[in-house]
Amino acid sequence: MGKLIVKEKEVVVPGEDLAEGMDYLPGDGCYRDKEKVRAGRLGLVKIGGRLIKLLPLSGKYLPKKNDIIIGKVIEIAMMGWRIDTNSAYSAMLPLRDATSEYIARGANLSQYYSIGDYVVAKVTNVTSQNLVDLTMKGPGLFKLKPGRIIKVQPSKVPRIIGKSGSMVGMIKDATNSKIMVGQNGIAWIDASPEMELVVVDAIRMIEKYSHIDGLTDKVKEFLDKAVKKDGK
């Protein structure tokens, strides 16, 4: 009969045995090697009945449909813009999805988005060959103003945002700043020079302690201290 080798919430490394026998099924981040289920990446084990899943602790971003990402314009093409998505696959922002304005034939496309601009965009489609399409039409999708760009681990983005934006909201309120975090692990910060560093440190702290309980209180404490110190 099948045997489970690891416990729930245990940290495993790629290649580690998770279970033996055909009773267990490999889920996200796991694979079957003959009789065994093995880990395919670094992560926390999550067991749901017979299915073993891994919550990744690291890794690059993989584009997924409906993700809101922050991308950088790297090329202006005939029919749109090529956007760097901080993953192995760059994305295409086609003309018709780029803006609600009317773009005349032969218009200079750099007046809308030029190379080096950062945009908040939504992934509309990812093909099996990992060709990615984006759209800028929709609420909350826009070109970003100048600000600080930092890279965070894509796997930690849900923790940084928090439940319905609670964590990022707390940082915003405490430091009186604007923050956007894309699913692809790029964050944009617009804050006063004094507060900018506090925001960056707070985000780095969430990344570092993302798997620890009571993270919200810890971040709150850090923010209170840092904001008070700079306020004086």
């Binding site: 080096g116 601009d117 100048p146 020079p193 900018e196």
Partner: protein, 259 residues
């Protein structure tokens, strides 16, 4: 590459005398650590850590024929390899312009400061001399490889010991106590100009935003030995004077890290 937004942001911060990581304009990252004798199989080695930047330097020695124009002097070769391991921007393959410049600037620092007493490396004039090879490999590039690499090369040369040599063959398994003949220590400080501000020890994002840089090499006795200008923006003689002063001032801190 061409990260306009990051450059703009670095410049706005610098106008208020602030930097991305909260340091002062002329402040090195801490800690600066230099660990000599890191690799046992090399004759000399060092590992330098400045903030998140980490560089390994190895020194190998061999007996070779001297160059025809310097028959009584030892050879010095400095090589840098920017491994893909150290930064997502480095590719494997033949050396690129960046690694060639890095190696040349550090080579010049050692050569022009006359750090190695190369005449003492001569075994038989015109026939046999000791050849010193310095290899620089970054483990993590978080900016300022120039200063970290130079610091590592100097520490590695200081820690180097001759291998066994019986007049015919070099025995690398044998270690002697004989040190390289060294003179006054050179120190390399790279000053960057972004907008109209001068900074030292840039992190990667600041390096990408740099308009011009000047690597200032001086000896511990205060003598200037080498300069290297990089970047696209021209520098006025006033700028250069300021950068050299800053380089000499900051060099004291780096010299302390060397002990």
């Amino acid at each position: 590459m061409n990260d306009r937004m990051i450059k703009e942001h670095v410049e706005t911060l610098l106008k208020k005398d602030r930097r991305l990581d909260g340091r002062k304009l002329t402040e090195y990252r801490k800690p600066i650590s230099v660990e000599s004798g890191f690799i046992e199989t090399a004759e000399g080695s060092a590992r330098v850590i400045i903030g998140d930047t980490e560089v390994l330097v190895g020194v190998k020695m061999g007996v070779e024929t001297p160059y025809p124009d310097t028959p009584n002097k030892g050879n010095l070769m400095v090589n840098a390899e920017l491994t893909p391991l150290s930064s997502p921007e480095f590719e494997s393959g033949p050396p690129g312009i960046q690694s060639i410049e890095l190696a040349r600037v550090i080579d010049r620092a050692i050569r022009e400061s006359k750090f190695i007493d190369s005449e003492k490396l001569c075994i038989e004039e015109g026939e046999k001399v000791w050849s010193v090879m310095v290899d620089i490999s970054p483990v993590n590039d978080a900016g300022n490889l120039f200063d970290a690499g130079a610091l590592g090369a100097i520490a590695a040369l200081k820690s180097a010991r001759f291998p066994g040599y019986d007049g015919e063959r070099v025995d690398y398994k044998k270690h002697t106590d004989k040190k390289l003949p060294l003179r006054k220590t050179p120190i390399s400080v790279t000053v960057h100009k972004i907008g109209d501000k001068l900074i030292v020890d840039p992190i990667s994002d600041e390096e990408k935003s740099s308009d011009a840089r000047l690597t200032v090499v001086h000896r511990e006795d205060g003598k200037m030995c080498a300069l290297q200008k990089g970047g696209t923006m021209p520098l006025s003689s006033d700028d250069i004077a300021k950068m050299i002063d800053l380089g000499i001032e900051k060099g004291k801190e780096l010299a302390k890290a060397l002990e």
